[in-house]
Symmetry: C2
DNA sequence: CTGTTAGCGCTTTCAA
DNA sequence: TTGAAAGCGCTAACAG
C-alpha cells in the first residue's frame, strides 16, 4: 500500500497526498478529507524507510542499556519510551550486558539504523570507544546514569548520596559499615558510590573495611553470607544497587541474622519492587523514569534546535533516601 | 557515508561494493579485500533504510509486550533479543500497558516500520482487533504466552500447571486455598490460571472460595492483608503471578502471619528475582527466555520458507514447579 | 492549491 | 567478474 495507490484512487498527485499528511493546512479541507478517507479505506500507512531515506531523519532515538533484567533500567526505558512517544519519536533499544564490545556494536547498529540521536548508559565514559565513535560521527547523544565532565549526562549525585547513606547509618549508631558492590570496573556508578562511601566513612572518622566485591552476582548470596558469619561482622551493609541489597537480605537470613534487628541493609537505585519486599528495602531512590524522560527531552531539544549538546547541558536530578524497613539502629548489645 | 563514496574511492562500481558485502564470493578476493579496506577506512555502514526500501525486507522483528516492568516480559524479551540477533534480525519492542487500544497502535506502527514479522503478547487473542489487522495484512506473527486454537502460540500449559499447584497444596494438607489474581479480563493467562485453579479444587473435592481479584496492583497489599485478617482466612494463597505473590508475602507479614508457617504462598511466572527472596518464592516457573527464543525461531523459520505460520505450528513448552520456601504444610493446629 | 520531477542509498536485473 | 541503470516509497523544490 503506497502513496501512489492512494493518489491514484483519490485522483490527486502523490505530492498532494504527502502534503495532506505532513502539512494538512497546505491543502484545501476538501482535498484533505478526500485523501484521508481514501487512505483509511485502503489502510495506507506511510513507509517509514522511504521517509527516512528521503528526509535523512528517522524520528527514531537509539537507546543503549546494560540490561533490562535490572528493573532500574527497565524503569528508565519506560520513561524514555513515554517521553519519546510524546515528542513524536520511536525508540530502538539495545542491551550490552555490561560488555564494552557490545557497546561499540550497539552504536554501530544504531548509526546504520539512521537513528536521529542516542541515549546511552555506558560502562565508563572516559574509556568508551563507543562514545569516541559517536562524537566522531557527530551524532547527538546523552548519557544516562553516567557522569563525566566531557559529556552531557543525566544522573544523580551518586557520590553525595552514598556519603549521605553512611552518615545516616552512623547517626543510627553504626560504626562497622561495610560496602558490597559488583565489579567496580564494570561501571562508573559503582565507582562513584564506593567513593562516596569512603568519603562518608572518613567524614565520620571511621575506618572503612575492605570493599566486598562480588564479581558474579549469582554468587552474591554465598559471598555475603560467608562474610556475615565472621566474628567481626559489620552491623550495616551498604549495597551498590538494589539487586545486590535483595541478595544481601537473603544472605543475612542465611547467616541467621534478622534485618534490621541484627543487621542494617541499604541499597541504591530505588526499584519499585523494593517497596513490596518484607522488610521494605531502604535505599537511595533515583528517579529512574525521569532520568530517562529528561534525557529524551534534552536530546529532542538539541535535535530541534540543531545545536549539538554541550556537556554543560547535563542534568543532576534529585535523589531521595527511601526509608524502608531494612535499616535500623544498631542493637545496644553491640553498640 | 554512502556506498557511492566507497565505490568512488575504491575505483569500482556501487554494484561491486554491494556485492562485496552481500555476496562476498561473487567478487574476486582481490576486489573484496579492496572494498573491505576502503569501507573500513571510511567507516562505511550500509544504510538500513535504503536497503529495506529496496529489498522490501527489513530484517527487523516487531515485539509487542504489555510492559517491561514485569520481569517476566523483560526475561522473555531478553530471549527474543538473543535469538533474533543469532538469526540476523534486529528487534523493535513496543509496550502496551495492557491496553487494547495500544495493541492496535503498536501493530500499526510496526507495519509502518516495515518489520518482517511480529511476536506479540496480547490481552485476549479471541477479541483482538490488532490480530485481525495483522491477519488481514498477511504479516507473519507468533503469539507468546497467549494460547488460542486459531493462532500460532508459544506458551506453557497454564491451566494444567495451576491445577497441579492446587494438587500440591492439597497434598500438603491445605483445604482453604484461595486464589489472588489481577483483573481477570486483562489477560487470557489469568483466565487460564483461574480455570486451572477451579479444576484443581474440584478435582480435590474442595469448594473454591470467591476469587480475590485485585484490579489495581498497587493496592494489592492492602486488599490481600485485609482478606487475611478475616476469621476464616485461607491457609494457602495461589497467586496469578509472581509480582502479586511478592505483594501477598508482604500482606501476610502485615497481617501478622508468618510464611510458610501460617500461610503458604505460591506464585506463577518464575521470575529470577523470586529465587533471591526470603522466603524464596514457590512458583510455577515458565521458561521465559525460551518462550521468547522459540517464538523467534518459529517466526524466522516461517520467514525463510515463505510459508505462513499455521496455528498448529505453535509450541507448548514445559513448565516446572519451583519449590521455594514460601509454601509448606498446613499447621497441625489448623488442619 | 496542486502537479511534475529529482533523488535519498541501496540491490538487482541485464549486458558487457 | 564487473558495470550501468532502474526503481523501492517518499518528500521537497519548482512550476503552474
Amino acid at each position: 500500500m503506497s502513496i501512489q495507490a492512494v493518489a491514484r484512487k483519490a485522483g490527486v498527485s502523490v505530492a498532494t497526498v504527502s502534503r495532506a499528511f505532513n502539512f494538512p493546512d497546505k491543502v484545501t479541507p476538501a482535498t484533505r478529507a478526500l485523501v484521508e478517507s481514501v487512505a483509511r479505506e485502503l489502510g495506507y500507512l506511510p513507509n517509514a524507510s522511504a521517509r527516512t531515506l528521503r528526509t535523512q531523519r528517522s524520528r527514531v532515538l537509539g537507546v543503549v542499556l546494560p540490561t533490562l533484567l535490572n528493573p532500574t533500567f527497565a524503569e528508565c526505558l519506560q520513561g524514555i519510551a513515554a517521553a519519546a512517544h510524546a515528542a513524536g519519536y520511536a525508540i530502538l533499544p539495545l542491551t550490552t550486558a555490561y560488555e564494552i564490545a557490545q557497546e561499540e556494536d550497539a552504536v554501530s547498529r544504531l548509526i546504520a539504523a539512521n537513528v536521529d540521536g542516542m541515549i546511552l548508559v555506558v560502562s565508563s565514559p572516559s574509556t568508551s570507544a563507543a562514545l569516541a565513535r559517536l562524537q566522531a560521527a557527530g551524532s547527538p547523544y546523552v548519557l544516562a546514569y553516567n557522569r563525566h565532565p566531557a559529556h552531557p549526562c543525566v544522573s544523580v549525585d551518586s557520590e553525595g548520596a552514598s556519603a549521605d547513606v553512611v552518615a545516616r547509618l552512623v547517626a543510627l549508631g553504626h560504626r562497622e559499615i561495610a560496602m558490597v558492590s559488583g565489579t567496580l570496573a564494570a561501571s562508573d556508578r559503582s565507582q562513584q558510590r564506593y567513593r562516596g562511601y569512603l568519603q562518608g566513612m572518613a567524614a565520620a572518622g571511621l575506618a572503612a573495611p575492605p570493599l566486598l566485591e562480588v564479581p558474579f552476582v549469582e554468587s552474591a548470596v554465598d559471598a555475603v553470607s560467608r562474610h556475615l558469619r565472621q566474628p567481626q561482622r559489620p552491623t550495616a551493609l551498604f549495597c551498590s544497587n538494589d539487586l545486590l541489597a535483595i541478595r544481601s537480605l537473603r544472605a543475612a537470613a542465611r547467616a541467621g541474622l534478622q534485618v534490621p534487628r541484627d543487621l542494617a541493609v541499604v541499597g541504591f537505585d530505588g526499584i519499585a519492587l523494593g517497596e513490596d519486599l518484607t522488610p521494605m528495602l531502604s535505599t537511595v531512590a533515583q528517579p529512574n523514569s525521569e532520568i530517562g524522560a529528561r534525557s529524551v527531552e534534552l536530546l529532542v531539544q538539541a535535535l530541534a534546535s540543531g545545536t549539538p549538546l554541550s556537556p554543560e547541558a547535563g542534568l543532576l536530578l534529585p535523589h531521595a533516601f527511601r526509608t524502608g524497613e531494612s535499616c535500623g539502629p544498631v542493637p545496644s548489645t553491640v553498640a
